[in-house]
Symmetry: C2
Subunit: 142 residues, 2 copies
Amino acid sequence: MNRDSAVSWDRSRTGTVKDVTRNKDLVAAFADRLERRDWPAFGELLDPDVVYEIPQTRERIEGRDRYVTFNAEYPGDWHIEPQVVLGDEHHGSLLFRWTLGGDTSLAIAFFEFHEGKITKITDFWPESYEPPPGREHLVERW
Amino acid sequence: MNRDSAVSWDRSRTGTVKDVTRNKDLVAAFADRLERRDWPAFGELLDPDVVYEIPQTRERIEGRDRYVTFNAEYPGDWHIEPQVVLGDEHHGSLLFRWTLGGDTSLAIAFFEFHEGKITKITDFWPESYEPPPGREHLVERW
């Protein structure tokens, strides 16, 4: 009996409330275990065939082992501080503050889940830019 | 009696399930009415004191009228196609494909809600960039 996949894909069942809670918890645990560099516990959140993508660079990493290695090898004393954690039956989202050395910025990850594991991570690293002209009459800047 | 704010801020009440559905619907309606340029209907989703921010440019727009005007004046034949819509009692998230002329990219908005209206929008416009060296042994590119 595969209870997990049944509740994941049938929104009419009451089990979806548990599923939403569980997937949101997965997103929170992802941020927490990454920040703590607890690689065995981090790996437990991931499907063996997890796919990680950065659309901005068109980079893709396939498989849990390679993706854990990518994070473990990521250089510098970086830190992750969650700002918003969201999850439903199928998708999750994380807005986080990323700090490395003296630099800090906001970054975003979206997630997909299957049977209590993360199967897909799509990561975004927005950079600062100057606004186009023409909207100064509506906008203030900080 | 202010039923809406009570269910928004008390997670122990069963009303939160309705609240989650409503806030997720707000995010979906935001994308739909923006795409259709239905400015009166778009404005109905927004709190009069809504705040819109772009952290990458440090731009802020305060108030429903100015924010509707900002969108109505945004130049070009742009289109929005939602990819992921998420919402809970307090926050929402939208991953969308943005198309303008021959260019297409993914962009993200996060939302805050109060009493069935959108009170805050935080928008991200990630641009393409070249990946740093040192991770070629883990990554493929598309």
